[in-house]
Symmetry: D2
Subunit: 338 residues, 4 copies
């Protein structure tokens, strides 16, 4: 039995992670921190939780590093980079669900996030936590940068095609639709019910959303060259879920069957990837760690389309964090996730 | 042609009123104020508006009283009570869509709103603005307290039965369901999409919601005695609309047909009240000034049930304000509202 | 390891039950039947399912009674009454999630459902499956009538007060709000997205909904006399959940604390009942077998209000069916449900 | 004053059109037909309607051609093609809101709709009813093929760029999101609330949706050559609205400002087209005949993105039909639409 601390347990990702880890048979939640609600019982703030998992929320300063084995950061940008070193020094494994440790280079981080990185020396030792692509490295890692929600759907959706050199990395278009929990539990006009309900809203369309940097960094590793991704997110009136509709140009004449075969070869043994014959819908993955996808050729063109659905809070955040923990700690990868 | 000012034009009620008054054939919007957005064009903040109605938002201090005939307050509690006197002194008619002038007594106001009333001397001269009940007084009024949204649905729903002395005013139960715009455009966790969507939420159930005071004050006038209203509001995942399901005890043996007849007598000539044979649904009144209702006896009991639906932003706020203005200024009551 | 058959596995209740039983550690789903989809893989029809649980849908006639231990009916009215006897004759336990075996008397069934009951001789041996109230009988039962969704919320919400003789059973008002899955997966205009979204709809208000008969039958057993329940259901734009707001008249002067104490005494050891200090919201119980409730006195009156929330598909149907199975078969009552 | 008949008045488009024409100051609705509801008052079926506009629904065979001036078809495919000739023979103007008269060639119609066209001789005389592009022809037309909802948003969104020869017509990608009313009021499992709510659903992605034929036909006229359009529709949990996100390849080096200038030149005098500086959202056009759009260059690429929002039932169907009628009959184009 392993002890975990969750720092930032009362955002949408934090509370999702708290639920998953609480139900995990091999892990005990020793600490759940929240600067906003510290001192309250977590079931007071989130009455949906199983009362058997109740715990008092603490401040992150109250965590006794000697008593824990793994720490998760579900904090806003800029927090994990300041605190991770302390835990690493105590020999504790760190899984950062915030953006702080997703980048190989502090400069690229600063370009997209407009902050200086305060622990650039740690970046070389971090592993980008997509188990389907980096499983071996995750096994040996002590510091994981857990991927963003949009990047998870895009990178998993494109990996087979890029690795197979089947498409042109310079001309990728991602039209993505996200549920509102993706915007976080921060209190902003944009996320009020009346502003979102019964409507669909494009935002940061083109090449400006902060996830573009992360996507292009990881696709570079898969493609061997620097890609260019047009990325168009849309806020959709649903709580959870991301659907990425991805348009690519084929390098060679591959049929839908050929393309499907490429995906099957890559993902056949992956427990969380389902190649669907129908189109993925976000409701099919809601509350699960599954990533559903479908690939098709557009007849008469050099274009293919990949549709890829995940739950932004699970495979796009908390579920993938648990999957990473399972890999790091040597548990079966699906423990606590099915 | 009459000139109007709207103070607080950028809340949900304010912008609804702006749209209605802009389309009104007899009225010109001379000023729309917003402390938050002053200096911006109103179509920048609300791109749904007809560009032909565009105007620059001003601060309320910039309104030149000499150039207007009527002023609407769509402000939070406590603003109109401070500013109304100034406009009244200039001979301008005031329609207060906030709660400040809905009460006959400053004490009752303070009991429910926990503020002192700064203009108690004006209360005696105000008229509670439900045209269906107070039309004659509205015609002669210079200061209207425009009713709250829940109270509008409850008072209209009960007026025929109370005036006919058909039910016991001491035992009224109102189970009300409101769309989220009723909570205003203020930025609160409770109103975030993810907190409201796909769920239903009771709040302030019993005898504690601030609208209870207003409801009981007006029902007293109809019933001749002080009533007691149990009032249970529920936040419902929809933008607009209030449905009040009202349970009453009959004083005499009246059938559904008898009850319907009482409503018909009362409301037959009312342009905005529709007695429905099917159950009212909020979608049927959305965007309109209609109030739909249905009354029925529960066979084998002394109970009757009234269901009553309005759009909280129209008949429950901005539409009724325009209706009041029409009555005050001598226009046909439905002008700009059908 | 026990083998189960689910008859009618592709309605909303059926598929919820399939998911729960598939994940149950002690039970194997041997058959899942669907007249509409027979021959298809269940993951083709419901791609959200874990592929590890895939099975071919069969016709109900293909079930080999010799190979199963328990059968669930998730069928429309009138099916289970014809088929249950066959399974009982083979010594198989039957849990009927349809309305066919909820009534003690065939006449009462016929009054409310307008069908003749074809197996009235089985009614005497059935047990009404609310474990919190009938646990001992369920242990020994071979045929369970699994309660309706609305009745579950109302009966659990009122049991402590009626058993304590604290309220008048003749004057109960239930204002209930249900998610749309309660209307089933049948294809009707009333359940189209556009007809339901962004609106709230009363229906069958008064004393006419078919669940009234079931509610009054069970409340009679708790109260010792025949009650009268005014029941007002409202279709609410959400997928799942029932919130019942219940208005009762107190027989004696009990404070909110006194009332809370009565509930605590009754339910303190119940694993699925949570007495909440905040108001129950359907999102807090969504996807779980929990029943959340809160009771309060209305000061200055003889009235109390109970708010009670369940997931209509889980505690109101499939989850309670599994809970019943656990009790019947001697498993821990929460197995597969937390 | 002109008399109109609406054939098929009780689908989502039909009832929207009925509302618009009823409020039109120059037109009287003489007939509203519905094979399903004939004999009923239209306010019984649609209680939201203004009672002043009530009318008895008739069968389409009961329409007396001698008493009307214009007829609208809001019928399923294949009806208008059989009945239009009769009305044309009586000198009545026909506006077909169904797909029957949108195609220049019966072969193309049959390719996409899999039906034979029974009145191919009428196709030569029809005009495709987008007033912004075909105003002069509409003025002289007697038979209008009113555009589909998706095509309206795509054609208006691309017209300036194609006419200016600024983009490559062979490489157009349209990622479109539609509200559920676009699927019609027919009773299908796919459109049930529970199947759609809180999820997003791709369908017919690639080059297979029936609107592709219509889009490519009209874009050919604008571009001068046959285009190729990849078209990916997504069912979105909202009642109304279409957002098309359109990806194009520029033929020359044009900045966002240059592109905006092209749109301004084309649309500056159009009363229903609003070039927005913020991104279009479907809620901004809901219930209106406006088409909101924004164009932008993706820096560092040869790509531009157009976002374009309409209400599928208004500018995408009934509102555009009224706009066409206004043009045909010589009224101001915005009459009854603002």
């Amino acid at each position: 039995m392993v002890s975990a601390a969750i720092i930032g347990a009362t955002g949408y990702t934090g509370i999702e992670l708290f639920g998953l880890v609480s139900r995990h048979p091999e892990v005990n939640v020793a600490y759940a921190s929240s600067e906003q609600y510290k001192g309250q019982r977590i079931t007071e703030v989130f009455p949906h939780l199983n009362p058997a998992h109740d715990i008092s929320l603490c401040g992150s300063g109250e965590i006794d590093a000697k008593t824990i084995d793994v720490v998760f950061f579900c904090t806003p940008d800029g927090v994990a980079m300041k605190q991770a070193g302390y835990f690493l020094d105590h020999g504790i494994r760190v899984i950062d669900v915030s953006p702080d440790f997703r980048f190989d280079s502090a400069e690229v981080y600063t370009n997209w996030y407009k902050n200086d990185h305060t622990s650039p020396e740690l970046l070389a030792g971090t592993v980008y936590g997509i188990p389907e692509l980096n499983r071996q490295k995750i096994r040996e890692a002590v510091l994981i940068g857990n991927p963003g929600c949009y990047p998870t759907s895009v990178i998993l959706g494109l990996a087979p095609l890029l690795e197979a050199r089947a498409v042109d990395p310079k001309h990728i278009i991602v039209d993505a639709k996200s549920g509102v929990s993706g915007a976080g539990r921060g209190v902003k006009l944009r996320n009020l019910f009346v502003e979102v309900n019964d409507s669909i809203t494009p935002y940061n369309i083109g090449h400006s959303h902060r996830h573009v940097g992360e996507i292009e960094q990881e696709l570079t590793k898969l493609a061997g060259i620097q890609p260019f991704v047009i990325f168009s997110p849309h806020l959709t009136p649903m709580n959870r879920g991301i659907l990425s509709t991805i348009y690519v140009r084929l390098n060679e004449d591959l049929s839908t069957d050929d393309l499907h075969e490429i995906y099957k070869r890559k993902y056949v043994d992956e427990p969380f990837i389902r190649l669907q014959s129908c189109f993925p819908e976000t409701r099919f993955v809601a509350g699960t760690n599954f990533c559903d996808m479908k690939v098709q050729r557009v007849e008469g063109t050099d274009q293919a389309i990949v549709t890829c659905a995940i739950d932004n809070l699970v495979k796009g955040a908390a579920g993938q964090a648990v999957q990473n923990m399972n890999v790091m700690l040597g548990y079966s990868e699906t423990t606590g996730l099915l």
